[in-house]
């Protein structure tokens, strides 16, 4: 497929690897921010191809993983109501709450539907005026325009049997939380390509300057990732710390103005709790007051939910690049994608699940 196959070209990857080997003189630790990048790196073994002095650690950019447990429990409580049609992206169906997941909730008789686009909820709501349609609006900045459009259209068309359960998170505050940590080891970032397609990368310029850290906005194909590594390592070897754009075929400095406009008319920035990490100030979106009628948390009284994560789980440290999946005693034994104990095992974009999925069950198969 055009703009996909050519970036999986082996000759291209080999040429980039040669270039990386020439440029790299000292050991460096880089973090790829986005879960999609993590998945691609582990799937194609990009990290194993790199010189052993370049280590990739995996970032917090998996929105499915970081959606807090209490919100998942809330989703299950709402989905279980007989008057509700609960709609979600497919990724959320297997994510375990305290007691079950959405698939199990569905098997008990709840009307849980997978949608490809949030706009499908409009159609469902129109054809079921006697039911409440609730959409689980999760995601990073990439998904916010799609979710904002659903709310905006619902209001415009006067469809009042739609509401959204919002769990939106933002990348830059998470990077700052990682860089602020006294145990941080990350020296450069591969920035999230599709988040920046929407938001541009001006916010990242401020972070790069403040923390003196290179950030290379990077795509998702093996060659994109290798070129991103090359650009970040070149900066580090030359003592530079700038934002560079590897993914210029998709990302511009200012991003998508039309999308940003609608997102900021529907959502406002707020504190959000990240599963495995805890609360991060100004790290997510909630609905603006004028859209509060569409807030599922207001529409449905769910009550206080108390949750506890298993103490053995180290997903918080994995999400911040402090530890790797293998460092966990439960990895691949008590904790598997079928029975995940924590955030990074719940979605294939989580580092633990990606390692498990692609057979990295033993520490010896990766760089330490």
């Amino acid at each position: 497929m055009k703009y996909l196959d050519e970036y999986r070209d082996e000759a291209l990857a080999q040429a980039l690897l040669d270039r990386i080997r020439r440029v790299q003189k000292r050991p460096w630790m880089l973090m790829e921010v986005c879960g999609g990048q993590t998945h691609s790196i582990v799937r194609y073994g990009v990290d194993d191809l790199l010189p052993k002095e370049i280590e990739l650690v995996h970032g917090p950019g998996c929105p499915v993983c970081v959606t807090p447990l209490e919100l998942i429990d809330k989703a299950h409580a709402i989905a279980s109501r007989s008057d509700v049609i609960f709609c979600s992206f497919g990724d959320m169906l297997r994510v375990p709450g305290s007691e079950s997941d959405l698939l199990t909730v569905r098997s008990r008789g709840a009307d849980v539907r997978v949608v490809y686009s949030p706009l499908e909820c409009l159609k469902i709501a129109r054809s079921h005026p006697d039911r409440q349609v609730v959409f689980f609006a999760i995601g990073f900045e990439t998904t916010a325009p799609a979710n904002a459009m659903l709310v905006s259209r619902a209001r415009q068309e006067g469809i009042d049997n739609i509401s959204v359960l919002v769990s939106h998170v933002l990348v830059p505050p998470a990077l700052e939380a990682i860089l602020d940590s006294p145990v941080n080891r990350v020296q450069g970032f591969l920035g999230p390509g599709h988040v920046c397609a929407i938001m541009g990368y001006r916010e990242y310029e401020a972070i790069s300057a403040r923390y003196k850290v290179p950030i290379v906005i990077t795509g998702f194909e093996p060659s994109d990732l290798l070129e991103g590594v090359l650009m970040a390592v070149t900066q580090l070897e030359e003592g530079r710390a700038e934002v560079e754009n590897q993914y210029a075929r998709v990302v511009t400095r200012d991003g998508n103005g039309a999308a940003q406009g609608l997102v900021s008319s529907v959502f406002e920035v707020c504190e959000r709790k990240w599963r495995g990490v805890g609360p991060i100030p100004q790290s997510g979106y909630r609905l603006r007051e004028e859209f509060e009628n569409f807030d599922a948390e207001r529409r449905f009284e769910v009550g206080a939910i108390d949750t506890q994560e298993p103490p053995v789980c180290i997903s918080g440290e994995v999400l911040r690049g402090i530890k790797k999946p293998h460092d966990c005693p439960a990895f691949g034994t008590d904790c598997t994608p079928a029975h995940p104990l924590g955030a990074t095992m719940v979605s294939s974009e989580g580092a633990c699940a990606a390692y498990y999925l692609y057979g990295r069950h033993h520490k010896a198969t990766t760089k330490g």
Binding site: A15, C34, G35, D48, Y116, T143, A259, K367
Partner: protein, 98 residues
């Protein structure tokens, strides 16, 4: 989750007050909302995420990586010393874990 797939816009239409279009991904044809890419027309490539085109693919930039590497390849051939420094032995070990 932030998966975005490149596809080609094959037709434009108005549906439910929204600018929509058919986008071809290889053999698959799907509807996508084009509200956020007002500059896009038939034949353009877009990145689609959750049923929305979020960006137009810039074809000149897409060709850039290839051009760069073609240049690098030529340079390598012209400068055998440099190629040696690059570690031609390493190349064969590229697929092995470290």
């Amino acid at each position: 989750m932030c998966l975005g797939i490149p596809g080609q816009v094959v037709s434009l239409e108005e549906a439910g007050g929204l600018r929509m279009g058919k986008v071809r991904f290889g053999q698959i044809l799907r509807e996508a909302c084009l509200e956020y890419v007002p500059e896009v027309g038939e034949g353009d490539y877009v990145i689609v995420h959750a049923g929305f085109a979020i960006s137009r693919v810039n074809e000149e930039e897409a060709a850039r990586t290839y051009q760069l590497l073609e240049e690098m390849g030529q340079l390598q051939e012209l400068d055998p010393d440099d190629a040696e420094v690059g570690g031609s032995e390493d190349t064969s070990a590229g697929g092995e874990p470290h």
